[in-house]
Symmetry: C2
Subunit: 207 residues, 2 copies
Amino acid sequence: MNKIVTISRQFGSGGREVGKRLADALNCAYYDQEVIVNIAANSGLSEKYIQSVLNNSVSSYYPLTYGRTLSYPNSAWENQAKVMQAQRQVILEMAEQSDCVIVGRCADHILAEYAPLNIFVCADLPARMRRCRSKAAEDEQLSDQQLKKKIKQIDKNRANYYTTFTGRAWGDPEQHHLCLNTSNIAIKSVIPALVAFCHCWFDPARP
Amino acid sequence: MNKIVTISRQFGSGGREVGKRLADALNCAYYDQEVIVNIAANSGLSEKYIQSVLNNSVSSYYPLTYGRTLSYPNSAWENQAKVMQAQRQVILEMAEQSDCVIVGRCADHILAEYAPLNIFVCADLPARMRRCRSKAAEDEQLSDQQLKKKIKQIDKNRANYYTTFTGRAWGDPEQHHLCLNTSNIAIKSVIPALVAFCHCWFDPARP
């Protein structure tokens, strides 16, 4: 069975960087946006629509694109179910292919039978704000208050999405194997420790 | 400045074992029950009374022992403050002496100026019950329901105590640097990863 690491992460905590660097260090595949691209390819839905569903902001008035045809869904729920099913299928296929690190998308729940190592990445609000600022497009002009509101809203959506999908509490240390707080540490420097943890987790002799 | 690791832990999660093994691996001092012994030596209070205060179960009717004299406190709060102050002093002295691992007792808060590495150790309830059973005295005959109740009550006391003392949420991944879930792993096997994390945390070049 392939070795799978899943990363759940607070917005702005550097979870993607943790995932990418860890995958590089483990010399395995890394999946993040690729999941969306694959769902789009398999389902015929647009990447934008899929992203909106997965951000938990689906609207029943949002137009779908099937091939080149625009249509309006009868029910937002039906399409949400369709996206979730497509996502599940894509993630299962990725896990079947090779060892990998998958960021977000409830992969810890979908791949439970693989006994993945599930990592939660978080940081305090000031650190997340700094990271968001450093990554923001040049024309983004959010005030501190607007940025805080954005971060909290995205995390609220992620928590709701995770709980709806898995029945578990997002960010609860009991629901993950390791929670890493990146507030006061360079992510690059902590990768050897995470690799050591992976070796321990995937040791065939683990009880 | 000495290198300090603090361990907060859910009851039955193996936090003490993590702390002891980590201290051995780092070749540094380990403090747990020693804090109580030292408070008793410094304050003249009995170890039993100190433990009851630190378990957040202080009673205003609990007799104090000053040297060989029994007396009844005027106020539970006064004595709680006295114990907390004595504890703070003992922990500060321990941190001043040498590198160390300290388990519990809000040491992360008391030693904030040392920039300690703060680890939270948890496990799911079945794992904690198994650990409690394996450590229980032979004559302990708790039913599963009684054991669950005991675990939850002790954790509730720890959470209340931590929040009262620090103003922060116990077990929130944002409030610790690393949260380790011991449910599905042998603690011994994870120590090299924790040592690697310590090396990264205490690297003089850390930003």
